[in-house]
Amino acid sequence: MPSYTQEEREQALIRLMQTYGDSVKRLCCMYLRELGAAEDAAQDTFIKAFSHIDALLAGDVRNEKAWIMRIAINTCKDLLRSSWLRRFDRRRSIDELPLSALPDHEDNLALMQAVCALPPNLKELVLLHYYQDFNLRTCAHILGISSATASRRLQQAQQKLRHELERS
């Protein structure tokens, strides 16, 4: 693999942050339901990405967005497993989330709450597929699961969302 200068690496990182920064932070925000933790996770995502930036510069990364989202998801998972976040009460209602613009429509608010309330393994799939616009195969690749499992989980998520929405 060719070696790159620090400046080239930093340029690549800045480009990554400018391109995917918002998406990564929003994904982390939805996943962790806490803005402070999401900020940490988003920053850690890019710090981790920098340690593998040579592979990106060398063109070894086929799908850049999938690559960065995979790092983000894994970072969120690590954070969820960490002792601090486990002590943090995440059963808060969406109104308490540090979101400055809640959905206009009540339906959308209910949907947002339902997505937030999904178990992590279903939520990550919903976020990747519906929000980040990845197809199921790419989602499966990002999450390290088979396409069949991804498909099954998506169905489960849809059922749960429907159930939650009907209930609300």
């Binding site: 800045i14 391109t19 890019f46 970072t75 690590d78 206009d104 976020l127 616009d133 197809n135």
Partner: protein, 367 residues
């Protein structure tokens, strides 16, 4: 996006350019609700600085915990599980499926997913320049069910709806590509507007083909809030090539125009009655240079609009650096001062004066 979503929508709902997209689609609703909620959550300059600082100082990300390996079940347990539970269950499932197949074979098959609706579609790049509607090859039966409402009239009504509901100070109707789709089964038009800047901004209006009344429209917020930015696109690349890699170093009007097109107008130009960029910088520079001369020599600013903070006030952020910055952010964190765009009052600041114990609160006459 919708094409991809269609594969997994339940009940056989299909979406796509040529299909009938309603705002009720699960995928659209999920995207809308998330976008509406999180559009102010941005990876901002503070985040970028934190990352760059960590990278330059060689700090590692928080170490990930290793997964605990599950205790492997022994062979005897696995075999007993297979014999007692898994095998009977599998047989039961196979048996049930056979029964189901028989039922379907003996009766008329039930249509699980509805046939795609017949459609007429037309595309316009700008309002009023409509192309004559062209029937899709697979929907030739449409000739017998033409709508009472003309396509151009549908577009006109959708435009009215857009101009009533959406913030036209950000994008005008002419800045969208218009796609009109007619569903003869429901006798409804779907007029979809997609931003010409490839930023994901869209607005969809569903209206009756008979009366022309608006049945439903998508969230107006999403018409002006970009959901994606493709920095690799030649168009955006040209902005960075021309003005440099760091947005805060750009001229104010260029920042504002770029932000309007690609960032949801979170940065804007100053209006009448508001401080100019030069005045905002002077408000910060004068007290700093009189109290701590020579510490900062380069000042940049951006006027963050009401949309950026979700509040009713716009605010300048003035970034103070020791040296001029070009394409790369320097190691040291800048002093960032936020001030009210109208009064020039200092609202907050972050960072400190390097090699100085000056109290910034005193410098800015803040409590």
């Amino acid at each position: 996006m919708n094409r991809r979503l269609s594969s997994s929508l339940p009940h056989g709902q299909k979406t796509g350019k040529n299909s009938f997209l309603t705002p009720n689609d699960d995928s659209l609703r999920i995207r809308q609700s998330i976008e509406e909620s999180l559009y102010t959550v941005r990876f901002n300059a503070h985040d970028m600085h934190a990352v760059m600082r960590a990278v330059k100082t060689g700090r590692k990300a928080a170490p990930s915990r290793k997964k605990r390996r599950m205790i492997r079940a022994d062979l005897v347990f696995t075999l007993s599980f297979m014999i007692m539970i898994a095998l009977p269950l599998t047989l039961y499932v196979i048996r049930s499926k056979e029964n189901l197949t028989t039922i379907v074979l003996n009766n008329n098959p039930v249509t699980v997913s509805p046939q795609p609706a017949s459609q007429l579609s037309s595309n316009t790049t700008h309002a009023g320049q409509g192309v004559e509607p062209t029937a899709q090859p697979e929907h030739e039966q449409l000739t017998s069910a033409s709508p009472d409402l003309a396509h151009s009239e549908a577009v006109r009504i959708a435009r009215e709806c857009f101009e009533t509901q959406c913030d036209t100070t950000i994008f005008t109707f002419e800045e969208y590509t218009v796609t009109t789709t007619y569903n003869d089964q429901r006798d409804q038009y779907a007029v979809s507007l997609e931003s010409i800047y490839d930023n994901g901004c869209s607005f969809t209006v569903i209206l009756s083909g008979e009366t022309g009344s608006v049945i439903q429209y998508s969230s107006p917020k999403l018409a002006t809030v970009p959901t994606r930015i493709n920095n690799d696109s030649p168009e955006i690349g040209a902005w960075f090539d021309q003005h440099g890699k760091l947005l805060i170093t750009w001229p104010q009007d260029v920042q504002a125009e770029f932000s309007r097109r690609y960032q949801g107008a979170t940065i804007r130009a100053a209006k009448g009655g508001e401080l100019t960029a030069e005045a905002a910088i002077a408000t910060v520079r004068v007290p700093i240079e009189s109290n701590a001369p020579g510490v900062f020599s380069a000042y940049y600013c951006a006027l963050y609009s009401e949309r950026a903070s979700g509040s009713a006030r716009a605010a300048y952020q003035v970034y103070c650096y020791a040296q001029e910055i070009t394409d790369i952010l320097p190691d040291e964190e800048p002093l960032v001062v936020t001030l009210d765009a109208q009064t020039g009052a200092i609202l907050s600041y972050s960072g400190n004066l390097p090699e100085s114990d000056l109290d910034l609160a005193a410098v800015f006459h803040m409590r």
